[in-house]
């Protein structure tokens, strides 16, 4: 999306933000509410109720909901209702298998262009994640881990890849948040990312590839253990 075309509002952070439209603001708020667990997976989302809560009419709210449907966070049935997606075991397995492919693809793109800025950026985000884990701040660690991986995608400059990652990230975050609420501790273990970053900065691409595959496999195993009990909510 071309949002940086004209950037003249450099310093004016006044009450009025003319470029902003209700749709994006509401989409952000609703997305946050879902990912935060205020609206739990499977729960129904009613337009009229939300519209009143947000203080807008149904028009912009509908468009925001459409966007979240496209992001895979909501699912709607015409004339009937809209619900927060409840991911099944297969859904999460798909997410993790896709992540292996996308992330290896990302590193293929930047492998020869891993300059000092990239290395520093990656280490900085790894340090931030480690700090969150050590502080046992699960909510923050979710965001930190997404930012670590997101940094890799951004570094490629591959707009289509970044767009694809965006479409997956929401669902991944939805699952992590649910996992966190159910288990208390989520689970990005420190040593796992230590190895990941080490390989990402090494000169052995095959080793990194193996590490990514293993990294996702571990995440996938956690997933299945977690979701087994609830047995096929059948989202999508």
């Amino acid at each position: 999306m071309a949002d940086g075309a004209k950037n003249r509002a450099a310093g004016s952070v006044l009450a009025r933000v003319p470029k902003s439209t209700f749709r994006v603001h509401i989409a952000d708020g609703l997305r946050a509410a879902i990912l935060n667990g205020d609206i739990q997976p499977g729960a129904q989302v009613i337009e009229t109720a939300l519209a009143e809560q947000f203080g807008v009419s149904r028009g912009p709210l509908r468009e925001a909901m459409r966007q979240l449907i496209d992001e895979g966070l909501l699912v709607a049935v015409p004339y009937t209702g809209t619900h927060v997606v409840d991911l099944s075991v297969d859904d999460v397995r798909e997410i993790y298998s896709m992540r292996v492919t996308l992330e290896v693809f990302a590193f293929e793109h930047i492998w020869e262009r891993r300059d000092e800025a990239f290395r520093r950026g990656l280490v900085a985000r790894h340090d931030a994640l480690t700090a969150c884990i050590d502080a046992q701040d699960d909510a923050a660690s979710i965001v930190a881990e997404l930012q670590l991986h997101g940094f890799v995608y951004e570094a490629t400059g591959h707009k289509l890849l970044i767009r694809t990652w965006d479409s997956i990230r929401g669902r991944l975050q939805l699952y992590w948040a649910a996992h966190h609420r159910a288990h208390g501790i989520r689970g990005p273990r420190r040593d796992g990312h230590d190895r990941y970053v080490e390989m990402a900065l090494s000169d052995d691409f095959d080793a990194l590839k193996a590490e990514i595959t293993d990294h996702m496999a571990r995440g996938g195993r956690q997933t299945e253990e977690f979701l087994r009990g609830r047995e096929g909510p059948g989202a999508g």
Copy 2:
């Protein structure tokens, strides 16, 4: 103009699919108009004009346009206007590079499960494509080629992968259609797909991988030759 909603209640019984809503119908029609070239890349798309043309109000039309924006066919600037995307050289290069990754991933998934139904389906679609090429029906060959590749994605049963392919397919078709209108002959050469299908049914995965990479590289070269002259429309 406003009688669209009232006409549907009359007469015909069986033909009506109750689940259908204006949004999807309009999205289909508008998408077809864009991919068909009735609305050319770079052209502005005005809500009020289209709404009248489709015989609906701006509400459903807006939602259909939002969907096409998400599919990457339109790009909108708040309060200003919406235009058909005009792909740049980099955009198309990204599409082709992404296709290599996704399609290899797809074959990884189905490699051990290529049963007789898959083989027959693939050959059937290849025959259909070949027929279109021999008949020099470029428009049909575009659809046929998309169906050939789409069949592979569908065979995986990987919903997330299929969804990702869907998000790319529209832009790919947009480019192919523009290429076709400009060059007359588009370019899915027969021998290229012969090799592709042969490898897809073989037992040599690495050979298929190489063929896919080469297949896309050829498409990419055509692209650059075609788009070079127009120099950076800078869509996105």
